[in-house]
Amino acid sequence: MNSTSIAPSSSPSTVQKQAAALGALVHRSAWATSNPNPLTRLALHNVRSAFGECVEVVADILQAKGGRTLRQLLLLLKPEMDASTVRAALLVLMQHSLVSFQPSTNIYNFHLEAALRILRWPRYLECTKKFVDETAAWVLESLMLQGRWRTVDLLTHVSAPKKSDRYTSREQVLQALYKLVQMGCVIPAKPLASPLDEEEEQELIVDCKVTEEPLTKRVKIEEPFSTNEENYEDFTIIALLEGSAHYKATLPVDTVWKVNAAYFHDRLRANTLGKLVHERFGGKIPSCGSFVQAALLHRLTLKHGKQHSERIDASLFTPQDVIQHMPKPVLQTLEKRSGGVLNNLTLSLQELSRLQHPTVLRLHADDLFEVDITSLMEYLHKRMAHKIVCDRSGETAGRILSILSVLGSLESDKIAQHAMVPVKDTREILHRMYRQNYLELMTLNRSASTSMQHYVWSVSEQFSQVIVRDTAHALYNLRLRRQRQVQVGKEWIERAQRAAVTEENDHETDRVNYQKFCVGLERLDHAVLQLDEMLMVLRDFQLR
């Protein structure tokens, strides 16, 4: 990220008043203003960007009010939206697994985590391109955009020639989908319960006082979301599916598929932890990062894929288990050494299990190991927190955080002594970190006299949650800023597009301004990706 300078605005109180008077560019609905949680605001902003304002309003209510029935939603949204719009919004949300329906209670519940993951779709696609191929990424992209799809419809859509310039045969698409299902990237979706069963429909018709509609007017029942007009039953695809035994077993025609986000998080976690181990211990044990990544990929396969482990605890592995997941150059290096691949690998793993800070592997038997994911993740979180605090408040603040994390509660004089910083400077930093909610201050009274009070500092219990909230907050603000930049630069975009058509409209200044505008947008996008990655590591990577 290029270094930047961000000029402070003129007068904070004036600015805050101006912020309060903002109009359309600030994401705002009747419900959003009441929720101060940045994660919630970010999730709802994602929904709005992806699906539009109506869908966002419905999601907002469900999130703010908890589970609600359709009738309750209609009552709440009566002046703003009619029944058909609300139903359509609900169906969109359900299609994308952002909302689930409980048939027993007729309640719709909003899933915040799924909404936060919308920003991560490009990352999943990039990951798929690397470990499978581009066709698989394309299949995945189509599935993400649609939310969920039947086998036949998905294959038909992706292999339709008019959808891209690139020719993709039905066999290639089928093979790609097969791989994705085998690996566990794509999983069958539970059937959606009927959003409006007959009983509820009757209630809506009869209970006109609730809906304030005349008795004769019926609520229009729309058909559940179905495949688009361009989809048709491609008999070639059906024939391909039913013609092959393994396709028939794995890809039933009418199965509805959706993206398995947990798989991608585990996969990305394997990459991240492999890289961490390589950077930390690569000098002592060559290719140790690859060993750990292979072990985690093996575990991933057992958890999400079609492979099953004979052991009760699927987190345990032997050197033989991970060989299939290791990169070829690493295997070749192990082969060249005397003893063979298996022997060298076992010795390396045993050596890796003896390393500390963090603990990488646990040795259960001679050749039975387990990756200590908890230790690795805690170490990663600790280093990230240290970097964030250093970036926000300076190197000394990072050092103070380390001191308090190791030594617990201390007075400011002791902290200054350990940090080798003057007491006055230490107190300023401590108070700044306190305002940022990183630290807590306890008062210990030895006697009733205030002069005998001792002030003791410690790391806040909510510290990790504060870091996550700050990250979400920054991400939300950047998204809003980007939205605004696009609106401001709309004119340049249009002029650039016109200039592409004819040379008459090509103007040097316009071109330069447009390039600068694009660079600015690109940097905002880059910052958003960085923050999203941080959020993923801090929140979505499981600790076990």
Binding site: S9, Q16, E279, A419, A474, L478, R481, M534
Partner: protein
């Protein structure tokens, strides 16, 4: 005003004795020409000789022990001798929980106290109690109840006699502390080796840290080896103790610039430079958290600008 004493002609022997013991500058003691004067001097000599013995030289002699050496009448005759020695600051009395102790003061030291009035001695005692921590002027005034003007004069007198000296503290540079002349101020006042001229020497510490990291980069070193390297290379003008080096190394470990490498249980810990670890945390625009981020101009190094948002004004 001290009581006037009858001055009696001194004999040559008395004068010589006084010069020898440094009493020439003292108020001449009344020489009573009587048969008991010789015995008094002998008693005094015996008393002084007793107090100069090694077992009583530093801690002094207790009243009960004194009675053993000087029983009955002799003990009573000691009283004027004790008073005389106290008046000339040659004897210091202190009280423990149980009884009085008498300690003899050296001649040269006693000379410094000659002519000091009780207020000055009181001020001196207050300052003496604080040892290496020193005492603020305000605290002296509160404890002695002496007015500021008089106190200032007393402090000047004591300073001129090299009994006390002013020092400054790093925590309060504008205030003056007084302490005994021969004592070194404590680390709490001076700040220790990391302060020079009462200012925290950031540059000095950075230089030391950089040196330690470069040394450990070549190969891991133990604390003792690092200490030795610092001494050999003469990086520092002031002598650094092993504890100072440990403190420096600890800050480097907390900053992840150094790490302690594991050795056997009986081996000394060594410190090396760890491999660089990149965490998925490259974002640095933390101003984005501020509520007015949208109204701030973002300027990149290459001149690209993200203009601030214009507020919307409602017009009629």
């Amino acid at each position: 005003m001290p009581p006037t004493q009858k001055r009696i002609a001194e004999t040559a022997a008395t004068t010589a004795k006084k010069i020898k013991t440094g009493q020439a500058l003292a108020i001449p003691e009344p020489t009573v020409v009587s048969s008991s004067s010789t015995s008094t001097n002998t008693l005094k000599d015996r008393f002084i000789a007793l107090l100069t013995q090694s077992e009583y030289a530093t801690a002094g002699i207790s009243n009960s022990t004194l009675k053993k050496y000087f029983p009955d009448e002799e003990y009573l005759q000691l009283v004027p001798i004790i008073n005389e020695l106290t008046a000339t600051s040659r004897l210091v009395m202190s009280r423990t929980a149980k009884e009085l102790h008498y300690t003899l003061v050296e001649d040269q030291v006693a000379l410094q106290f000659v002519g000091l009035d009780p207020s000055a001695r009181m001020v001196y005692q207050v300052i003496e109690r604080t040892q290496t921590m020193g005492c603020w002027t305000k605290d002296i005034r509160l404890q002695t109840n002496i007015q500021q003007n008089a106190l200032t004069k007393i402090l000047k007198t004591l300073e001129s006699r090299r009994l006390i000296k002013p020092v400054k503290s790093v925590t309060a540079k504008s205030k003056k502390l007084y302490m005994l002349y021969d004592l070194q101020p404590s680390k709490e006042l001076t700040g220790g080796v990391w302060y020079s001229n009462l200012e925290f020497d950031h540059e000095f510490i950075s230089k030391l840290r950089y040196f330690l990291v470069q040394t450990c980069r070549k190969r891991p070193h133990s604390l003792a080896e690092l200490h030795h390297e610092l001494e050999q290379k003469e990086i520092s003008n002031v002598a650094l103790s092993l504890e100072d080096v440990r403190q420096l190394v600890q800050t480097l470990v907390l900053d992840y610039s150094l790490e302690e490498e594991e050795r056997g249980p009986n081996e000394e810990a060594v410190f090396g430079v760890p491999r660089k670890v990149s965490v998925p945390c490259e974002f640095t625009w933390w101003e984005a958290i501020e509520p007015d981020f949208g109204f701030r101009t973002v300027v990149f190094e290459d001149g690209v600008l993200l203009a601030p948002h214009e507020p919307h004004y409602q017009t009629a």
